[in-house]
């Protein structure tokens, strides 16, 4: 029995003793002509009150002991510990506290696992450009005639690493500052048009042949609240991805709808590329996921993960499906 038990026990006893003492005092003053209470009854009363005090103290201190064990286990890094079953069918503030603990531990574990996985993926992902850098330097050492080409390569790889680091920072900023996000009213239609304009500019610069089919007029009426910069990034990643997989001469379709009844906007971005294997559809929003059709050196699989986090942090959801006519369709729902 812990200290807390004895404290409760002592105070319950004190309360009961005070009551008894008051009763005895009352009897001494007013009850002299009343018959004396029999000794057995008095002893029985004392024993019963002791038992009740002990039971009550135990009832309160036991769940607290469980909580303490759970907290100290969590402090040692064991986040698999759960209180749930130990409190039985209890329904009071202490049981709520236990459930809160379970939720906290589960959430922390999820976050920590996510961070660990991300760190593993990042170190893995940084290796590819580094391996290429080392191979390039090796080539230059082998034959100095290579130096020009090698410098181009070094530049390209360092841009890749820079971009990767940039996206990582975005991702970690997203995770760290969900609460302190800028909140403003965002016009999604304008955002889409901006993203499409940027993408068109890039496509022209590469003299590729990809056209846009944009129908987002109904979104002008919808007001989405959130961080415009983050939403811009989120859309940009999806659109870039679609452009990348659309073959020359193909189209990227962007359709927006505002559902006043449900108070949400739906945005569909579809390409005419090879699509994604059905088994892999759910995974494309995970960091560093790379589909079968993807090239080893194109992109690094953080873009869609960032989009996913941004949409979720705005209270929306995102999903992907294959179109019957071929190509991937990404659907975004945001509250408006």
């Amino acid at each position: 029995m812990g200290r807390l038990f004895w404290k409760f026990f002592f105070f319950f006893m004190l309360a009961q003793s005070a009551t008894t003492a008051w009763a005895v005092a009352f009897w001494i003053r007013h009850g002299r002509n009343l018959p004396k209470p029999p000794l057995e009854v008095m002893v029985g009363g004392v024993v019963a009150s002791l038992a009740v005090a002990a039971l009550l103290a135990w009832y309160i201190s036991k769940p607290i002991r469980y909580l303490r064990h759970a907290f100290s286990a969590a402090a040692q890094g064991d986040l698999d510990v759960r209180i749930g079953g130990n409190l039985g069918r209890r329904r009071d503030e202490l049981a709520d506290l236990g459930r809160d603990f379970d939720r906290t531990a589960a959430r922390l574990k999820m976050l920590m696992d996510g961070q660990r996985r991300l760190l593993h993926d990042v170190s893995h992902e940084l290796r590819s450009p580094l391996a290429r850098l080392q191979a390039a330097v090796g080539l230059a050492r082998q034959d100095s005639a290579n130096v020009g080409a090698v410098i181009d390569r070094l530049e390209r790889e360092s841009v890749r690493i820079d971009k990767l680091v940039d996206e990582l920072l975005t991702l970690s900023r997203l995770e760290a500052s969900m609460a302190s996000r800028e909140q403003e009213s965002v016009n999604l239609a304008e955002l889409v048009i901006e993203v499409v304009a940027d993408a068109t500019f890039e496509i022209n610069a590469r003299s590729a042949q990809v056209a846009f089919d944009v129908r987002v007029e109904s979104l002008h009426a919808a007001k989405v609240t959130g961080d415009a910069e983050m939403l811009h990034r989120a859309l940009e990643n999806v659109v870039r991805n679609s452009v990348r997989y659309t073959p020359s001469g193909g189209q990227v379709h962007i359709v927006g709808e505002y559902d006043r009844g449900r108070r949400e906007v739906r945005l569909m971005i579809a390409d005419e590329g090879p699509g994604v294997a059905t088994a892999e559809l759910a995974s494309i929003f995970e960091p560093f996921f790379r589909g079968e059709a993807a090239q080893a050196t194109s992109g690094h699989g953080l873009g869609l993960a960032i989009t996913h986090r941004v949409i979720e942090s705005h209270g929306g959801r995102i999903s992907a499906s294959n179109r019957t006519s071929g190509g991937l369709s990404v659907e975004i729902h945001l509250p408006a």
Partner: protein, 231 residues
């Protein structure tokens, strides 16, 4: 020395291109494959002196590819593994890879490892003065043909395992240090905390079975290395 044919298997096409150029200038004949499946098919088609296999590939990993190669072929395999990922190294060596190089590595390092394995595989320098057969109990090692028999039956050994067994057989009854084994079998000194030799020895142990009284034919000699029991 004829040109050694090397097969490079990696999913990173740009890296493959550069390594191919580098290795060709170093005097190797290089073929590349950018997926595990085509890599396995090429490795099994024969004609290569060595396969360099990247462990980290999408879909079929290098480990799975190695398992498929090893079901039918004893071709020398050099793995490219993630730095710091010891689990991959151990699993790869257990499956019969001959050695590994952590990636990213300099091409010079890669070439050194490839040369070390090829030198050991061909046994070029030893052949002249090597005895025709080393006899120790049930074991017969034929260094010139690079094959070994155990109780009259031929042993399926990878190139590295053969080198280890040969070194142990030459000193049967005496302990051979892990460093000496590493120099002989891998052509390089052992890195600190490295477990390659232990893993290779344990797969040889599996292939030899146990003595009648249940001991392993290759005994661990604490702080000294390994010893092949001389009956």
């Amino acid at each position: 020395m004829t040109t050694a044919k090397i097969l490079l298997v990696d999913d990173d096409v740009e890296l493959l291109d550069m390594l191919q150029t580098y290795l060709e200038r170093e005097g190797f004949a290089v073929t590349t494959a950018n997926a595990a499946a085509t890599g396995v098919a090429a490795a099994l088609s024969g004609g290569y002196a060595l396969v360099v296999l990247d462990v980290m590939m999408p879909r079929m990993s290098g480990i799975q590819a190695l398992r498929q190669i090893r079901t039918t072929s004893l071709i020398p395999v050099l793995m490219l593994t993630a730095k710091g990922d010891d689990a991959d190294c151990i699993v790869g060596l257990e499956l019969g890879a001959d050695d590994y190089v952590p990636k990213p590595c300099t091409p010079r390092e890669l070439v050194a490892r490839i040369r070390a394995i090829l030198r050991r595989t061909r046994g070029a320098e030893d052949v002249e003065d090597a005895p025709a057969v080393i006899h120790s109990g049930l074991l017969k090692v034929f260094p010139r043909q690079r094959r070994a028999e155990w109780g009259g039956k031929s042993l399926d050994l990878t190139s590295t395992e053969f080198n280890l067994l040969e070194a142990l057989a030459r000193s049967a009854g005496r302990a051979v240090s892990k460093d000496a084994l590493s120099e002989h079998a891998l052509g390089r000194p052992l890195a600190r905390f490295e477990r390659s030799i232990d893993v290779h020895v344990s797969s040889i142990r599996r292939k030899l079975g146990t003595t009648p009284d249940g001991r392993s034919w290759i005994q661990t000699v604490v702080r000294q290395g390994y010893q092949l029991l001389a009956q």
